[in-house]
């Protein structure tokens, strides 16, 4: 992994209003095959992407929110959600889907993928990347 690049996918848009959330997720899933160091950040309206109990039946659009739960299978397990963005929208971590992964190095123990970070922490995480892809 030493020559792997650090890729950060920055999600700042709400789902369904535009296609960015869905097409961002599609890049992440394809990108996972390249064995780079992948992280996802959800801030601003992007935090709405992870809200649980999404139901698109009446809208007649595919509900892609269950796909976030597959990220762990794809070894994408660094998911940063910004605290300030959650608070500004009246949300807490409990309003979001519970995303987990199985840690290969810890006897496949199930662990949380989502880490709530402050804007200042997220700024440092952004600064530590090689590639930042924004959606």
């Amino acid at each position: 992994m030493s020559d792997a690049k650090r890729f950060l996918y920055v999600n700042r848009k709400a789902p369904y209003g535009t296609i960015y959330a869905l097409e961002s997720l599609e890049v992440v899933l394809i990108g996972a095959a390249f064995e780079q160091d992948v992280s996802l950040a959800f801030l601003d309206d992007g935090v709405f992407e992870l809200v649980k109990d999404q139901n698109t039946e009446e809208l007649g659009v595919k509900n892609f929110s269950p796909t976030y739960k597959a990220l762990g299978d794809y070894d994408v397990n660094k998911i940063y959600v910004e605290k300030e963005s959650l608070e500004a929208r009246g949300l807490t971590i409990d309003d979001l889907q519970h995303l987990t992964y199985e840690d290969e190095d810890d006897d496949w123990a199930e662990k949380d993928s989502i880490r709530v970070v402050t804007a200042a922490e997220l700024a440092e995480i952004m600064e530590a990347q090689d590639i930042v892809l924004s959606f």
């Binding site: 920055v10 601003d44 804007a119 997220l122 700024a123 924004s134 959606f135």
Partner: protein, 100 residues
């Protein structure tokens, strides 16, 4: 890092969000509708003026001219660059992030 903002600060929060996440020593390049964030005497000028202590600000000349915004209407310290200057900034900073 070079932050690129292309949204008017009066329409979206891209500039605010960018400034909240830009660490000291980074640069912010304002392009497209983002150049309105470089104007002095607006409701948003104070934010940019405060951030300019830690960050360098640039604005793209093509977008300023297209929108009829003269250089003398810009916040002091905002540097105007052309596309060549844009390319130089991308090369100078180790990565870029677009606040779409």
């Amino acid at each position: 890092m070079l932050h690129i903002v292309n949204k008017s600060p009066f329409e979206r929060n891209s500039l605010d969000s960018c400034l909240q996440h830009a660490v000291k020593g980074s640069a912010v390049l304002l392009i497209e509708d983002g150049i309105y964030g470089a104007m002095k005497g607006t409701q948003k000028s104070g934010t940019v003026e405060a951030a300019a202590k830690d960050l360098k600000f640039f604005a793209l000349s093509a977008d300023l001219k297209a929108r009829g915004i003269d250089q003398d209407r810009l916040i002091d310290g905002v540097e105007v660059v052309d596309y060549n200057g844009f390319v130089d900034l991308v090369a100078e900073y180790d990565k870029s992030q677009s606040w779409l």
